[in-house]
């Protein structure tokens, strides 16, 4: 069978495409050999690298657990919640009615909608009730003067994305509701939010922002595993056991003995190499052995020096994740300052980020207008009454300032790759609490670099070359001698303390 997909026609005239059978090697925990014991199965933790366009929902949910992504999601959610929205309708009373209904759950709904912007889609269940929407301003009268109670939406419940999908008729023209965990939810109660549908070529699964950062996220997870293995190997380096080929008188292979020997001096893998015995012939033709070792063990020193390279790598990935969540990577890559005629990269990217946020907000507005407001309108108002819609008119000024600061911080200098920017520093500048790696405070971030003289490179190199001794486990011993010394010193410093 060819490796190429086969296309043909059946007798009934249907087009058939067959794809070649594919077998892939196992990528389970065995890829890390013995170290898999600690790492578990990467495949179940974050999965094989796959197409960003077809990510399973469980992977997306796993991505949300990443602190940088989670933080960006919160920022997007707060931007959506704080955005300025208006209800538009030619009939003031009807407008006020929808205003009262909408404002009651606006913030909750926007927090849920933010999730759809990240995932690409989210199913929501409408909560209906017979009740009169109460005005946002407590002293105002309800905009519903009639005796019969209106049937309105009082909020939404999100459904768990895994196992949820929209249902359509056979021609995929009419939305029939949702399937949630194998149960059907009627269209009347269903609201399927799709974000970035146009970018997904009309797919109702949408195109979430997580897709843009999937590769970086996967690399971060994979890199962590690789780093863990390096760390373990560094802590428990491989052993080489040398042995002379051959067997003992009892028939036991020297190689087996060498492996046992190696294993006895360490915990994990051992390498056994035959230690060939060299011979040399003198000028007189006499054959003699060289001083080659026959039996020996030695540790292989790992080349790993410290976590610096890993921290640098993860910092780069984190920056990519944050930028990718706010601005599509494509847009970012196409922005170069010299082409911008004086405007900074941060300015351009800020505008891009705001426009994209507005596009997402518009998408949410459309869903609300068509699938939440419209049914309420039909149920409670006459057919000839003026239509009503919700429209986002702008991003809150605070959000703009924060977003600008954030992007500026992420970029640091327009001519520097974002990979060299410290996300932690960016968060510090925005006033977010970010504990240092060893538990220090973030408030001193600004003082971390000052106007002091530069440290010469040779001093820095010297620092890097030194090996720092880690502390011994267990309580630090305190000798009587040390106590005596401190006691004497205390007596000299505070004589009044010891008067009695």
């Amino acid at each position: 069978m060819s490796d190429e997909p086969q296309v043909g026609k059946t007798k009934q005239g249907k087009t058939v495409v067959t794809s070649p059978g594919v077998s892939s090697p196992s990528v389970g925990h065995t890829m890390y050999g013995r170290y898999g014991t600690w790492l578990g199965s990467p495949e179940t933790r974050y999965g094989k690298l796959r197409s960003a366009r077809h990510l399973p929902d469980w992977v997306k949910i796993e991505m949300l657990a990443d602190p940088v992504i989670g933080w960006c999601l919160s920022f997007i959610a707060s931007a959506l919640i704080d955005a300025d929205r208006v209800i538009e309708c030619a009939d003031p009373q009807k407008r006020q009615f929808f205003e009262d209904m909408f404002r009651a759950w606006e913030k909750d709904f926007m927090a849920q909608a933010a999730m759809s912007i990240c995932l690409g889609h989210l199913g929501l269940i409408k909560k209906w009730a017979f009740e009169v929407p109460q005005p946002v301003e407590s002293d105002a009268e309800p905009a519903w003067p009639w005796a019969a109670k209106p049937f309105v939406i009082t909020g939404f419940d999100p459904v768990y994305p895994v196992g949820s999908s929209p249902r359509f008729d056979r021609e995929r023209k009419h939305f029939n509701g949702m399937t949630v965990q194998s149960q059907n939810v009627d269209v009347f109660y269903s609201l399927w939010l799709t974000s970035g549908k146009a970018w997904a070529f009309g797919d109702y699964q949408g195109r979430g922002r997580l897709e843009g950062v999937y590769l970086d996220w996967w690399m971060k997870r994979f890199g962590r595993d690789a780093y863990t293995v390096r760390m373990i190997k560094s802590n428990d380096p491989a052993v080489v056991a040398f042995y002379p080929p051959g067997q003992t008188d009892g028939g036991k292979d020297h190689r087996d003995i060498a492996l046992e020997l190696g294993d006895s001096v360490r915990g994990l893998a051992t390498i056994a190499l035959p230690s060939t015995v060299y011979k040399q012939t003198s000028m007189t033709g006499e054959v003699s052995h060289t001083s080659v070792r026959e039996w020996d063990v030695e540790y292989l020193e790992a080349s790993i020096r410290g976590p610096a390279d890993w921290i640098q790598f993860e910092g780069h990935i984190n920056t990519q994740l944050a930028l990718g969540m706010f601005i599509p990577p494509q847009a970012f890559l196409q922005v170069k300052q010299p082409e911008l005629g004086g405007r900074t990269t941060a300015d351009v990217l800020l505008n891009a980020a705001i426009k994209i946020l507005m596009m997402d907000a518009t998408g949410v507005d459309q869903h609300l207008t068509l699938y939440a407001f419209a049914p309420v309108d039909v149920l409670n108002f006459p057919p000839d009454s003026p239509p009503v819609r919700v429209r986002t008119v702008g991003i809150a000024p605070d959000t703009k300032v924060q977003l600008f600061e954030l992007i500026k911080s992420l970029l640091a200098r327009p001519d520097v790759s974002p990979g060299e920017v410290d996300v932690q520093e960016a968060l510090n500048r925005l006033g977010f609490p970010t504990p240092d790696r060893d538990g220090g405070l973030s408030g001193i971030g600004a003082a971390a670099v000052g106007d002091d003289d530069e440290v010469p490179d040779d001093v820095l190199r010297q620092m890097l070359q030194e090996r720092i001794t880690p502390p011994e486990p267990g309580p630090v011993p305190i000798s009587d001698k040390e106590i005596d010394r401190v006691f004497r010193k205390l007596k000299e410093t505070f004589p009044e303390l010891f008067q009695d």
């Binding site: 610096a308 720092i468 502390p471 205390l490």
Partner: protein
């Protein structure tokens, strides 16, 4: 160990009434009396509360010790930055400073009375030092990382101010050691032990009072003029007071 019994019926003493369930101290000559804090302290199971003045004096000494530590650690940070001292030598010197400070803090907490310090006290100090040494080691690694970053990308190295500030954090824990020393290690947490958002920067203090029930110490978490973290503000409300039940004081 104290020889105690649990009162089974109401007993009337000269100036007190013992209710059933109260822990009583059996006296050598027969009879029993209500247990006091002094009884517990005499057996090593209690806490001797210094007077408010005495506590203030000891705290002032601790502050002096910490100020000295801050000065010396700042000098060490400067030496590290200008290349006068290698990073390993700096770490060892910092360890010595941290150790000396914690030992001194333990002695000061007992008012300079060395005989009050038991093996348990030194064991506790040793435990504190372990955690501080570990933090210090990670700090040293972070300095190396920063050096690598500076060499690779040209970003400025840590400023002297920053290095000195960070070094101070490792001495801040001595305050927790001081209070735990006073309370025989029975406190669930103490200012400066790193369990609050302000970590070892904590500016709070503790005040101790004898509770109405023998063997129960009242501990007050007190704020002082400073920028307090939420944890400390919360503790100042919940430890107002905290009832610290000493071993053997399981009275009703």
């Amino acid at each position: 160990m104290l020889e105690v019994q649990i009162g089974t019926e109401a007993q009337i003493g000269e100036d007190f009434v013992v209710l059933p369930g109260t822990v009583l101290l059996r006296e050598p000559g027969g009879g029993s009396r209500i247990i006091t804090q002094a009884d517990l302290a005499a057996q090593g199971g209690g806490i001797i509360i210094p007077s408010a003045d005495e506590l203030a004096k000891r705290r002032a000494k601790l502050d002096d010790l910490m100020a000295g530590f801050n000065e010396r650690s700042a000098i060490l940070a400067g030496k590290l930055r200008d290349g006068g001292m290698g990073i390993e030598a700096w770490q060892q010197a910092m360890r010595k400073e941290i150790k000396d400070l914690h030992i001194a803090s333990a002695i000061v907490s007992k008012g300079g009375d060395r005989s009050q310090l038991t093996y348990a006290d030194w064991g506790r100090v040793g435990g504190f030092l372990t955690s501080q040494y570990r933090y210090l080691y990670r700090y040293a690694l972070a300095i190396q990382d920063k050096a690598a970053q500076s060499l690779a990308t040209g970003v400025p190295f840590f400023s002297e101010k920053y290095l000195a500030y960070r070094s101070r954090l490792y001495g801040g824990h001595a305050k927790a050691g001081f209070y735990q020393g006073l309370a025989e290690g029975l406190l669930p947490q103490a200012p400066g032990d790193g369990n609050t958002q302000c970590l070892t920067n904590c500016q709070c203090t503790l005040r101790f009072e004898q509770g109405d029930v023998p063997g129960v110490i009242l501990v007050f978490w007190e704020l002082h003029p400073a920028e307090h973290c939420d944890d400390c503000v919360s503790l100042s409300q919940s430890w107002n007071p905290l009832e610290l039940w000493l071993p053997g004081a399981e009275v009703q």
